[in-house]
Each structure stands twice: as structure tokens, then as C-alpha cells.
Subunit: 127 residues, 10 copies
């Protein structure tokens, strides 16, 4: 069962705005309608609050375990995407958060879901 | 016969604006002029209304069955595209919906049709 | 001889603005100077008027036959491009029409011709 | 010797603005310093004046012969580019003309020269 | 242990604004949670102050040694990125500095971190 | 030793603004710290003043010999870039000049340096 | 229903051995277990008997109609492959026949089936 | 109408065995069943007899005109392939000849036909 | 006029068998039928006799000048290929020589000619 | 001046046959005819004798310095290739050695030279 308690954080190392991106290419959950496994890629991008404001970053191993907690869960793509956004937003209260999920084909249909929270930082646009 | 009654929905899991994209690479219908089969790819993108506003998402297996209901239908590319847009717009009343159909060559001509409904969400542009 | 009477249309299925693209990769005509065959690709993009306004779409098989009517015609690239634009503009009176022709090399020179009519619809830019 | 008298034109087939691009991948001239052959690609893009204004297009075979007239000429890249621009501008008096020459390496250095004349038509930007 | 004292600089050779980019594809540090090695690519971009203003550039070999000083350090991706930004900003006081770190997968998750300092110079946008 | 006296010029063939790009993929100099050879690619872009204003272009063979004069020179990347900019700016007094140097890896770090002089011509942006 | 009576042939035009390959990228049938459509690519290669021996080739349009006769048939991949081989072998009695079917993914699994009849001609090996 | 009288030859320049390959990417004929145009690519490979034995090569412009003579001919792919083989074999009596024709899709099916004559020369295998 | 006297050689530096390959991507001659220029790529591969046996290698600059001597020559592709083979075989008497010429399209047909002399060395096969 | 005394070796760590490949992408020497610099890539592959037989491997930094000793040498491609083979063969007495040099274009001609010594090990063929 998706378990946000698995998410651990550590204090952001700076007062400066910066951007973090984690890409998990090995995500799997279960289709709530057919019971068959779904396979997808999860992209998480966020900008933590400043250290002075108590900003935190999600710890990578805990993020992996959190993603693994979806393995036996019967859950829609749309709920996976929004659950991850909500759990990470709650755990980190970042100034910006974006979650993109890309799913391999099921019944000949492949899907991409995008959700976000907060304001895109200037650094992201500078790319 | 294209059957919009096959379309089932489930409540959107969030009040936040987000974007869903489904790509069906295995669409087939029949040419109304020659009676020969047409083969194409259907891209559907939409943003559901918020949960508070009763927003819904199309259920993926029902979408597959809906697409399969075109299999024996004699119908123009242009009508396929607009029918899908109209049926999905009616079933979901999303804030944004875009339908793009790409058709394999017939008589040496390949075609792409684009139709839309509503307002593109900010998240789509942020990409 | 290029024959616009071959062009048939059918009523657009909607009052909504949408965009249609047909790509013919098997076009051939004859060079008016040397008498040798020319080979090219024709891209046609257009947006029909609304159904309420009597908008129509060109029928695909008739478009194929129209393109084939250039097969023995001695005609410049520039005239092919503008003739197709003029014939399709007359047959459909679309709100937007774009014709791009790409020609294989002749004498070591390959050519691309672009012509248009009307106003680009918003949906095209949204892509 | 570069011979602009080889350039022949024919009346533009329309009063509409449109854009023509010719790419010659088989251009050769001679280096005026070393006497060794140079090899390059010539891109010519232009928009003729309207038919009502007496607009003309360069005829393709004559353009090929004009390019071939540089074969034995000792001439700098920069002069090739500007000579082609000047000769075509004079022969066609187009509303827009762009000449880009890309040269294979000589002494380990490869070069690209760009020159233009007139105003870029809207159709070119629409691409 | 990351050692900023390893960083050496030399006077910028000009009063003109210019942009320098160093890419280290062979960076390695240690995960502070698991003790396993991390491998990544570090991109550093900066614009030094003018020579008249006492501007300096980081010397390349000293930068290499500085990067190597992270080899045995247990440190988060986020801290690596911000430490490099802070150490380089202090050593050079450049008008602009950008640090991007791209990390190979760990537990199926790959990460990218971006941080910056100062104002992007015009030359960078001119590209 | 870098020798700007090797640079020869010839009068620009036109009063029109145009843009010239030379790419040398075979540049080598020596690292002033380690004494080991450096290998890089030099991109030079410029727009000469008009012929009426006495504008000149750098002659290609002389440019090659000028680049070769760095072969045994112990010199930083940053100085190579600015020296080339300064020497070419002095020799040609162009309206615009851009120098980009891309260096192969040394100690696992590869570098790109950009410097410029004057105002970017409109033709460059039109591309 | 797969209908071999749709297959028409014409006499081979030669006594020489030669090889014919037809690739249908638009094949669809129905899964006999789930009732869902299957999509695949069919490759048919054969060498007809000599004209003197009454050799025949399958006519292309009839082959297309034959393939289309599988459209509503509930049939395993393996049976599709062998039915096509048997029907074509009976219709043409070729000296060699090879059928390869490649199927798009279903439940995350994609399949390739190969079947043959007769002796591979020397010309095929010569490739 | 396919006209082998258009084929002209010239004496092979050597007594040595060598191999010639001509690829025509602009072949078109007409489908004898539907009357629609077919488009394909023709590959011709051959090895002439020695000069001492009176060997000849097909002249390239005459080969082009010969290929163009199929333009209005209603003819099967198989007959195109064997006709070209037979006509070239008769015109040149080469020691080896191979004809491969690749046809663009028609009704969703694309085809490749291979025919040969004589013995593959050692040089071809050496490749 | 093709001038084999331009070819200069120097003694092979070894008694060991080895293989040399020169690729000229800037070859041009003239079509003897139409008078238009031909453009091609020439690949020369050879293995010199041993130094003890008086083996020689062709000098690269002289090879360039020899290739340039075809610039104004009206000559068939087949004769270019065999002339180069014969001239190089005479100048070097190598143990193996292979000449491959690849020609850009003319009249929609592109060509490849292969000729050889002597015995392929073992080292080439080892590749 | 090429200096084989720079080559240092160390004992092979095993009695087993194995294969080592070093690729130097930054080689430069000088053309003995024109005095201009040459740039190339050197591939060295070898199999040392067994440890029991006193087998050695070339030390990598010494190999770099050896390659750098060609920097000011006027020397043919063929001599570079054979000199490296001879010097490495003498320094290591390996059971197999292969040297391949690939040279950037000069006068429009790029070259590849291959030389070898000894017997290819079985492991290499397994590749």
C-alpha cells in the first residue's frame, strides 16, 4: 500500500533556490480494473524552500522505498500521479513540485500524466 | 458502431489541475468510400475539472472498448476525430480536450487531423 | 491535365475549428523545359469553415485522383504549388490553406515551394 | 566565368506571396589563392513579386548552368555568395532573397557564408 | 573531504564579458546513507568579472583536483551541487555561475540537480 | 608563438551586411601548467564592415597559418579564446565577431569558451 | 472468415527462378480467448515455379482482400501464420514459401511466428 | 510502353572483371488491375564481359529513358522486374546481372522482387 | 586530362604486409554524353609490395592532383574507375588494389562501380 | 622526434591470453611534403605473452608521451603506422599487435592505414 510514512527528508543545504529532478524508470503498480501489473516511469522535479525557512529535500533511498510501496496496489494512473504529488508536497512543502508519469502500453494504449504544485523557479526556465 | 455508452468514468482524484494523455497506436475503422480498412493512431489529451466540481477521468479499459467500437464503422478520418472529441467532451466535460489522429497511407496519401475543445491548461505549456 | 473537377468534397462534421493535413509522397509531373518526369511530395494543410457556414472537406480518394491528373502535365514546380492552392481554395473555401511541395533533385538541385491562403487557426499553433 | 546572362526567368504564376527554395549540393569553384578546387552547397530562397507587378521566378535549368559557370573561376567564398545574391537580385528583383553557402573543409577549416536582400515574407516565418 | 583550498585561479585575460563552461564526466562521491559510490557529471558555467575589476578564472587542473577531493566523501547530491556552487562563487566571485549535476541511476532512480548564482550574461543567450 | 601578423585580409566584396563562419576542427596548443598538448575546435563568426567603409574579410589560408602559430604555445583556453577575438577584431574591425572554442577532455574535464565583440547582425537572427 | 477463395493468381512472367516479397503492415484479427483485436505485420516471401511448369504469382489486390478476411476472425497467432502458409501454398504451389508474422504487444508480450514450405532458392541466399 | 530499343551500350573499358550498380529511386509504372500509378526503386547490378570478348556497359542516359518508357505501362511488379532483367541481359550479355525492385505500399502492402542472371563475380563477394 | 604522370610514390617503410585506404569525397569529372559535371566519391585501398621487393606507396598530394586532373575530362563512370585502377596499379605494382566509386544521382539514378587488382591481403580480412 | 625509449612496460599479470586496446584520438604529426600539421586517431590492439614467458604490457602514460614525441615530426601516414607497430612490437614482443591509424581529411582526402604483427588471439575473434 502506498505509504508516505516511508518518505524521509533532510535539510536543504542552502538558502538559494535550486532545482532537483529524480527519474524512476522502474515503477510498477497494479491495474484496479483488470488486476494486471502496470509499468511506468516517474519523473519528480522540485525546488525546496530555503534552509532559513526550514526547507527539506526527500532522501533518495526513502523515495525508492516509497515508490516500491505501490507494487501491490490496485490504483489508477491518475491516482498514482496525484498521490505522489500530494505525498511529496506534504513531506517537503516545496516551493515547486512537478510529477510526470509515463506508462507502457496496456490494451494498445500508452499514457502520460502530468501534475504540479507551486510556482516554477526561474532557474528551471534558464536551462 | 461508435458507441459512446461504452465510455466509463471515475472521479478525478484531486482538485488540482492536471493533464492526462492516452495514445492508441492500434486504431482501425473502415473507409466509407472504398470499404477498405483504415489504420491510425489516436492521441487524446485532456484536463479534468476539479474533484470539487465533480470532475471525472475516462477509464482506460472502457476507452479501449470505445475505440474498438469503430472497427466495422464506415467513417471519414475527419468524422472519427470530431466524434471522439464530442463523445469524450460529453462524457467528461473536461476543461481542456485535444484529439489528434494520424493515419497510415492510403493511395499514397497519409493524413493527420487535429481538433480541440476548451482551454489549454498552464501545466501543459510548462513542460 | 490538372483537373480540379475531380475534387469532391463532403460537409465538415462540426462547427468547431479543426485542422487537416494530407501528405502525398508519390506525386509526379513533367518538366516543361526538358520533358523529363519530376517527382515530389505534396503537403496540404487546411481548416474548413464551420458546418453552420457550409464548410466542406476534400474527399481523400478524389484528392488522389486530382493529384494523379498532373502525371503527364508539363508544368513548373511553382505552378504546381499555386495551382493546387488555387484549386483547393476554390473547391473548399477554407479559412486556412497551406501547400508545401518538396521536389527530388534534378541536375543536382532539389527544391521546396511554400504557398498559403487565409489565416492560420489557433489549433495549429497550439501543437 | 560566372555568367549572369545564363539566368532565365519565367513569370510568377500568381499574385500571392509565396516562397521558393533551391538547394544545389554539387557546387564547385576554384580557390583564388591556391588554385585548388573548392566544393560547397548553395541554398537560394526567395519570394517573387506578384504577377501583377511583373514578378518572375528563375528557371531551374538556367540556374544549374549559371552555377556551373563558376566551375573554373578563381573566386573567394565571400564573393561567390555575394555574386549569386547580386545576380539573382538583378535577374528577378524579388521581394526577398537569401543565399547561404556551406563549404567543405580546406586546410582543416570549413566555412558557412550567409547573405540576404529584401524583407522576409510572412509565409517563411509561419513554417 | 571536499577541499576548496585546492581551487586555484588566474587573472581573466580580458575586460570583456565572456563565458566559460567546464564539464567533468568522471565525478564520484559516496552516498551518505548506503555508503555506496555515486557517479555523476558536473557542468560548471561562469562569467568572470573584468580584468580591471580583478576578475579571475578557475585553473583547470586545480578544478580537477578539487573535484577529486569529493571521492571519499559521504555527501548528498544536493549538497555536492550547492557546495561546488558556493566554493566556486567564493573563489572567483564571478558575475554569473551555474552548476548542473547529473547522476547515474541508484536503486533505479537517476537525478539531476541545478543551482545558480548571479546574472546570466548576454553572450550566453546569444548562443 | 601566436602571431597576428600572419593574418591577411581582402576587401569585402559588397556594401551589404553579411555573415561569415569559419570552423577549424584541428586546433592544438599546449597546456601552460602541465606542458601537455590541448586539442580543440575553433568557431569564428563575423560580419565585415561595408566595402564603402573599407570593410575587410580574413583570408582563409592566412587564418589557417595563424591558428597553426599556437601549436607550440603554452596558453590557457581562456587566453586562446580572447587572443583570437582580439587579433581578429584588430585585423578586420568587423561590426560583429564571435569566437567559440570547444576543447576535448583533459583530466576528465572538457571545456567550452565563448567571447564576442560588437553587435549581432540581423541576418544571423533571421536564420 | 479467412477466405482462400479470394486469392487470385496470374502466370509467372518467366522461366527463371526469382523471389517475391510482400509485406503487409496493416494486418488485424481477433484474439480467440479475449475477443480483443490483434495487430500485426505479415511478411510473405515465395519463389514461383517456372512459366513452363505452369507457375503462378498471387495477385496483390486479391492478397489484400484475403488478408482483410481475417479482420473479424477469432484466431491464434500460430493459426494465422500456418493458415496463410497453407492457403498460399495451395493457391500457388510455389517452389518456396516463407511466412513471418510479427505481432504488437498484448499484455506486455510481443510475438514473432515463422513458417515455411519448400526449398529456399539460391537467389535469396545471394542477397 | 517498355522499349528496350532505347537501351544503348558502350564498350567496357577493360578486360578485368568489375561490378556496376545503378539505383533508380524515381521509377513509376501503372497497376494493370486498378489503373493507379505504382512507385518504386530499381537496383541493377551487373558485371560486363571483358573488352576482349566484346563486353559492353549500358549507357546511363539511355537507361533513364528506358526506365521512363514504363511510365504509362500497366504492368505487374513481377513483370517489371523480369522485363528489365531480360532486356538488360539481351542488350549487354553480361556475365552477371541482378535486378531488385522495391515498391512503395499499395493497399497497405509493400513489395520487393529479386531476379538474377549468370554468375556472381568474385569482386562482389569481396566487398 | 587524366594524367598518371602526376602520380608520385615513395618507398614503403616496411617489409610487412599492410593496407592503406584513401577516400576522396570531392571528385568531379564531366559526363561524356551530356557535358554536365559528375560528382562522386573515390575509395582506393591497396597493399604495397615489401620494401625488400621495391614496394612503393602513392604520395597523397600527388594523388590529389591526379584526381583533380579528371576535372574537365568527359569520361564514363566505368572508365574513371578502371583508369584509376590501371594508373595506380602501374604506378605502384601493389599486391592488392581496390577502387570503389560512388556517384551522386544524375537523372534520378545514382551509381556505384567496383574494380580490383591482385589478391586481398590477410590483414584486410582480419578487420 | 619519435622516441621509442619513452615506452615503458610492466609485467603482464596473468598466464592467460587476453587482449588490450588503446585508442588515442589526439594524435598529431607534420606532413613531410607540405609542412602542415596532420591530425589522426591511433588504435593499438595487442595480446601480451604469458607472465611465465616474461610477457609485458605498455604503460599508459609512457604511451601518451611516446605518441606526443611525433608532434613536430615530418612523417608520412604510412611511416607513422609502421613505426608505431615496430616500436611497440620491439618493446613488448607481444603475440599479436594491430595498429590502425585514421587521418582527418587533407586536400579533400581522408586516409586509414592498417598494419599488424603476429597471430590474432582467439579471444579477439569471439568479440
Amino acid at each position: 500500500m502506498p505509504n508516505p510514512d516511508l518518505l524521509e527528508t533532510f535539510p536543504t543545504p542552502t538558502d538559494n533556490e535550486f532545482v532537483i529532478e529524480h527519474v524512476n524508470e522502474e515503477f510498477t503498480s497494479v491495474c484496479p480494473v483488470t488486476g494486471h501489473p502496470d509499468f511506468g516511469e516517474i519523473v519528480v522535479r522540485f525546488s525546496p524552500r530555503s534552509a532559513a525557512a526550514g526547507g527539506v529535500c526527500v532522501e533518495l533511498k526513502s523515495l525508492k522505498l516509497y515508490f516500491q510501496s505501490f507494487r501491490q496496489e490496485g490504483i489508477y494512473y491518475e491516482a498514482v500521479t496525484n498521490t505522489i504529488r500530494d505525498d511529496l508536497a506534504k513531506a517537503m512543502e516545496p516551493t515547486w513540485l512537478q510529477v510526470i508519469t509515463r506508462w507502457r502500453g496496456r490494451g494498445g494504449i500508452r499514457s502520460i500524466i502530468r501534475a504540479a504544485h507551486g510556482t516554477i523557479p526561474a532557474e528551471w526556465h534558464r536551462q
